[in-house]
Subunit: 356 residues, 2 copies
């Protein structure tokens, strides 16, 4: 593996590298014209179920953008779809569940996942990609149980998450059952991805920022901790949420080698809350990519300066790439992050936390 | 004014009171059956434009819930509607703008507000209410310029605010023009409400939590500061946002006698960031009102304990009452806040910050 190919995994382990690694959530898909061309032929789900096509879509941003890691193209609902949950991935809306969870029987109907039987195409895509990616590491992922439960109980994307919270408050035993089943599913799904060859995994708790710190502690943390301790140790694990500024200490306590951070908190303040014994990933507002290049660079520079050259920073957005994002803005940002961080390092700006 | 009627205004000024005052954002409307009966006859806008009906809707929660303050029933888009912006308040969606702001000409078309001509019904409702409310104080309000701009540029409620942020980054001069016009409108609108008789005002910056602290400082704070300094001094001003845990210090710096806080940060941590020279308002998750009474009381008690009896806490939700909220849960919560805080005070639990 060349030094540049090793950047991402070194940063996950808080080892120094030649430049700050960068990848983008949702780098595969939506904003890329070559992806849109494929989407004219196949639905999102059809892409996921065709390993050759899915591998191609995963590779597109590597070729086009020069990012330091590939992330498997998939949807967080895939393991649920694989185990028979009846749902649609509706264009411009998101997952829509035919029979949202309302009662014990709905939860009892969720069955355990057997990844090689239920989602073989995911594992085949991973095996195919490992042959094609060369030194570029491949990240697998799963939705965290709160985020999955939010979809299952709400029935569709929600602004206020009132149904899932109401369910959680009113039915603590059913909530425990639901979160336990989802956690077991996530563990099996991630372990299968690791066995198939992914070199890191990310747990997406995208909607967890809807919760108070008190509710996170009671209703979410134990399940995330179970997953992160079952999956950790083999490959680096990234634990990600949005709107999570006040949850970062608890998310770090739940586990993960790398804690994902959104733009609502400056990166240095976030790293302080997470603890410098962890790596951090983030945290440019994806909306900034709609700005002129000078504004993008100014804001990216601020993120890099707040990381202060401390080993263990993976540059990313605070959430997924928006479909409206100009592709050349993404490519230029990758180049800027590499050049600026390598230059900063060469100029001998003291990286914090490294004995000199 | 009886002691209980004075609770709210005393708390705004951080003066001790017999019990913690409580009111709810969106206490008028949606969840109340007597409101729904009126809505069968009138649209939301028709209610706002009929002072007798609007006053009745404003009074309903005072009678039904026993809250310590009334808030004028209105919509944050009213001053824009009054000055001729073409928009609909769509049921279950929110404001939909016919011609969203895209260019300089759209901003130039926004004209200054003359409240007595443009929104006479709002001021008439206030005058009517002051005659009927007795000792219960009346809160006026306006949307803050970022939140108004978000609707005007997005054209409809948004999840990610990508259009308004893109506009702000790409067109800083137009942004300044837009925010200046909106700020001047808000100042004139709030000053007219104060002249008509409201005894406090709240500035709702509901969507400001979509911004990074860095962007808040540059694109929002100067305008909010202008409004809060122009309006402040006559009546207490509440400065409210959601998702604002990492903005609280800047929101306090922008101004306001009381800073509104949502549930994503514990109240004591929030008050520390705001500074104890301000009052705070909050911060129960409105979704908690769908929980059984025991859970509601447990969470309300936690909020009250974190306020620690320090003068200057106004109990509220972190955002508006959800339409699905059982009305008896609201009434019981008001009673609990009064009883628990009065009991705590009588038992001599040391209020923080009060010399004994």
């Amino acid at each position: 593996m060349t030094e540049s190919a090793g950047r991402f995994l070194r940063a996950c382990r808080r080892q120094d590298a030649d430049a700050t690694p960068v990848w983008f959530m949702r780098q595969a898909g939506r904003s890329l014209p070559e992806y849109r061309a494929i989407r004219e032929q196949y639905s999102l789900l059809e892409i996921c179920r065709r390993p050759e096509v899915c591998a191609e879509v995963t590779l597109q941003p590597i070729r086009r953008l020069g990012v330091d890691a590939a992330i498997l193209f998939a949807d967080i609902m895939i393991p649920l779809i694989g185990t028979g949950v009846d749902l649609d991935l509706v264009e411009n809306v998101g997952p829509v569940i035919r029979h949202p969870i309302r009662a014990a029987a709905d939860i009892a109907a969720l069955r355990a996942i057997e990844p090689e039987q239920d989602v073989p195409y995911v594992l085949d895509t991973i095996r195919l990609l490992r042959g094609e990616l060369g030194g570029t590491p491949l990240i697998g992922f799963a939705g965290a149980p709160f985020t999955l439960a939010a979809y299952l109980v709400e029935g569709k994307p929600s602004r206020d998450f009132i149904r899932v919270k109401g369910f959680m408050y009113r039915e603590p035993d059913l909530w425990h059952d639901l979160m336990t089943r989802l956690s077991d599913m996530v563990v099996a799904y991630l372990q299968a991805q690791i066995a198939a060859g992914v070199q890191a995994v990310q747990l997406f708790d995208s909607w967890v920022g809807a919760l108070s710190p008190r509710d996170y502690a009671r209703y979410v943390l134990p399940y995330s901790r179970h997953i992160l301790s079952a999956v950790g140790g083999n490959v680096p694990v990234i634990h990600f949420g949005t709107n999570s500024a006040t949850l970062l200490d608890q998310m770090a306590a739940a586990g993960g080698d790398v804690i994902g951070v959104d733009w609502r908190i400056p990166l240095d303040a976030a790293w302080e809350r997470v603890g410098t014994d962890r790596a951090v990933q983030g945290n440019l507002d994806p909306c900034v990519l709609l700005a002129p290049p000078a504004v993008i660079e100014e804001q990216a520079r601020d993120v890099l300066e707040r990381a202060a050259g401390r080993p263990g920073h993976i540059f990313n957005l605070g959430h997924g790439v928006h479909p409206e994002t100009p592709v050349d803005h993404l490519a230029r940002l990758v180049e800027f992050v590499h050049t600026y961080s390598a230059g900063r390092r060469a100029a001998g700006a003291a990286p914090v936390g490294v004995a000199r």
